[in-house]
Structure formats: C-alpha cells, structure tokens
C-alpha cells in the first residue's frame, strides 16, 4: 500500500515538474489563443521552418529571427496587424496551412506553379536564385557538370526540384536530408560532391565558416526565384491584407532597407 502511494506521488512529481518546465519554455511571449493582441490589433499566426539562416533561424534565446522575419514584422506594422511566429519545420508547414493552424507561412518559400495549385501566394517580396556549393578543389564549373555527381539538397525545396530535373526524379545520386545545414554537412563530409541551395543561405554559410574550404558557383541557367508569403488556397482576405503591407513597404523603402535590393 505504502509502496503504491510512493509510486503515485513520484509520478505526480515528475508530471508537475515537466508541466512547469514546459510552461517556462512557452510562457515567455504567449499572447494566448485570443485573436487580439495587447494593442487591440488582430494577431496572425505565422508558421516557419527556422533552420534557414540568415532568412529564418533561432537565436540563442530561442527566438525566431532573420531577414524573412524582419520583413514580415514590417509588413504587419504597415498593414496594421500583429504576428506570432511558430516553428513548424519545412514539411509540416504545408499541411499546417491547410489545416488552418497558421494564418500564413514565411519560410523563403519560392512561388512555383506546382505550389500555386494547392496554395495561394502574396506578391513576391524577395528575389533569390540557386547557388552551387562545392569543395575548393572541385572541378565543377557549371550546373551541367553535376550530371554524374552526387548532389545534396534540402528535401522538397526548389533546389531539390532543379536537381531532380537534371538527374532524374528517382535518382539515387540525390542526397536529400531534412534541413539545409544537414545538406551542407553531407557535402562537407564527402557524401555528396556538391550542395545546392538558395543563395542567401549558401553565402551566409560561407561567411560564417571561413575555415571550411568551399567555393560557390553561380549558374545563369537557374531561373530567378521569387519568395512569397503562402496562405491557404482561397483565403483572399489574408492575401489582400499581406499585399497591402508589401505594397507599402516597397513604396516607403523599408523593404530595400532590410534586404538591400528592390523587388519588382
């Protein structure tokens, strides 16, 4: 009898400690589930995959930060709403939109026709293109040279799409791990001859890791990519709101201030 009580109390203790810790982790900036922030403006929940420095990533305090995040905050300010960021990871982001867990997504999402079939996008707010990252002694000079090589990309990104077109969509030479840092690690560790990713991320990686002997290769055959904010298909109200914000920050120069270039 006594033994049983001891077990139960131990279990209760463990449960309460874990709830306490969990509350600590989330209680910092919890705005509750109400749709209105402190200032009475409506709060939109924004989903992202925060493993994509410098566009969106976690700082040491666990806050989601980055260029994309700054842009969305500027848009929100311009269009008069508040935002709450949630880290979903890349792939769960898409069903989270469909299931209305998030109001819109910002995650360096390139606007593609394929994605347009299932989701709606705001106007573009950022121009990107694919870059190739190879070891310093590599003989690769252009995208075509990767034809018989192993190439690492983050799974189901636009980089994955372009390499599928070159190597075939079920090729075993495509190394596609879960996140961009992992994809770059595959190349560094010799599992792949090259990595392909968005220019901002690749350039940021190179700047932050000067000791690693790699070089970037540009290829004009990559099409320009435009990032957009993604919303659930048919949610015109949010689209209009976002586009209004994007229009304002394009006109008042705020967008250029953040990214350093204009987006037509």
């Amino acid at each position: 009898m006594k033994k049983g009580l001891r077990f139960i109390s131990l279990g209760l203790l463990l449960a309460s400690v874990s709830i306490l810790l969990f509350a600590c982790g989330t209680g910092t900036k919890d705005s509750g589930s109400s749709k209105n922030g402190e200032s009475g403006k409506r709060v939109l929940v924004v989903g992202t995959d925060a493993t994509y420095a410098p566009m969106e990533f976690m700082d040491e305090k666990g806050n989601i930060v980055g260029i994309d995040i700054d842009i969305v905050k500027a848009i929100a300010e311009a269009a008069g709403f508040e935002v709450e960021f949630k880290n979903y990871g890349w792939e769960p982001l898409f069903p989270a939109l469909t299931g209305e867990e998030v109001d819109f997504a910002v995650s360096s999402i390139t606007i593609t026709d394929e994605r347009k079939e299932s989701y709606d996008f705001s106007d573009p707010y950022f121009i990107a293109n694919q870059l190739i990252l190879v070891p310093e002694d590599s003989k690769v000079e252009k995208f075509e040279d990767l034809k018989d090589k192993r190439v690492s990309v983050q799974i189901n990104t636009t980089g994955h799409t372009v390499i599928k077109e070159l190597l075939g969509k079920t090729s075993s030479k495509i190394v596609a791990p879960e996140s961009m840092p992992l994809a770059i690690s595959e190349m560094i560790n010799g599992n792949a001859d090259a990595a392909i990713g968005d220019n901002a991320v690749i350039i940021d990686y190179k700047a932050n890791n000067p000791k690693v002997k790699v070089k970037t290769i540009e290829d004009d055959s990559f099409e320009k990519e435009y990032y957009g904010l993604m919303v659930k298909k048919g949610n015109t109200e949010i689209i209009e709101l976002l586009n209004e914000g994007i229009k304002i920050i394009k006109e008042n120069g705020k967008l250029k201030e953040i990214t350093g270039f204009d987006v037509e």
């Binding site: 792939e91 898409f94 069903p95 394929e114 994605r115 079939e117 299932s118 989701y119 690492s152 799974i155 189901n156 994955h160 799409t161 599928k164 969509k169 079920t170 075993s172 190394v175 596609a176 791990p177 879960e178 992992l182 690690s185 595959e186 560094i188 560790n189 010799g190 599992n191």
Partner: protein, 236 residues
Amino acid sequence: MDFLDIRWGMIWDYRELFFRGIGVTLALTVVGYLGGFVLGLFVGMGKLSKKKWIYYPSKYYVDFFRGTPLLVQILLIHLALIPGVFGHSLGYFVSGALALVLNSAAYNAEIIRAGIQSIEKGQMEAARSLGMTKNVAMKNIILPQAFRRMVPPLGNELIALLKDSSLVTIIAANDLLYAGKVVAGASFRFWEPYLTVAILYLCLTFVFGKIISYVEKRFSNSYVPTQRKKMFSTRR
C-alpha cells in the same frame, strides 16, 4: 471535398523510389538485427560476468544506448563519429546500419541476459556435477533452454527495429519513408504517399511476423518435427 479525391498515379511515377526504399529498409533491418544480435550476445554475457572490467563497460553500454533516443544516436554517428574517425562520411547506409546495430545490441543484450538468468540455478549445478566445465555447460545446457525463452522478445525487437529504421530518413537514407516524403513534397498531397508507405511497412512487418511465429513454433517445447529420424530407440 478533396479528401476523397485520391490519385495513385504519382505513386506509380515514383515507383523506383518505393522499390529502392523497400530494399534499403529491409537491408538496414537485417544488417542491424544480425549485427545487433551478435554484439548483444557478447554484451549480454558481459553483464553476467563476475569480472569488473567486463561487467561495467557492458552495463554502461546498455545504459547509454537505451537511455538516449535513436534519432540522436543516428545524428551523432553520421555527423560526428564517422567523419571524426575516418575524416569523411561513409554514406548513409554505413551510418544508419551502425546506429541500428549499436542500438538493437543494447536491447538484445538485456533480452539475452534476462533469458539466461531465468534458467534455474539447479541446471548449472547439475551440469557442473556431471563434470562439465562452465563454458560447456553454458553452451549445451543453459543457452539452448534460455534461447527458447528469448525467442518471443527477440521477435518483438526485430519488428521494433524494422519500424525504427524509418528514422534513418533524416540523414537522407533512401528508405521507404524517404520515398513517401519525396512524393508528398513534390505533389503537396499527403494521403497517398504516406498511406502507401504505411501499407508497405505493414506488409513487411506481416512477413517478419510470420517468420517469427514459425521460429517460435520450431523452438517451443511441444514441437514435433514432421519427419523424425530414428537416431536410437529404447527398444531393441
């Protein structure tokens, strides 16, 4: 309602990935299990050892691999251990198989240890009093009896390992789950690819389940072979 609008065509387009996925998943499971069994036998015996320098490493080995998530072990091995030791990666298969071997060895070690300990002390004493050495008694008397009791939990471990092998997808192993993820990402449809993956896993576990129940029957006490050879008879 597009919930019912299911299109299987794209699964067929990507069939090569699914076939390769089945192969990789099976290969990872079989390699991981056999390696884990052999290593687990040593570690499990080590946990029964009276010698401190054998007992403690075995104990800590099991504690570590049972006390940390397999996903963490996979990432550690793939991104830190192998590049650290060899200077470069040896590919996802080596990392994945090694992680599964080390992980399942820990679980198998416990099964093997418990199996051996469940045999009554009297068996060993009787064997020893017949003049057998410890090792001979272990090999001929204890292990055959213990193995019979180990079969069901070892079978469970095989099924668990097959399912856990899907975690290797994070390091871009072209396993079964990877195929589903690629199709889902390319089409933005989630029902078909993941349902296909689930059904394929179910088929694999079904086949393994059949094998396990055959082995269980084969080693059970009431097993009667269909064609018994007359080795010797008590009557003349």
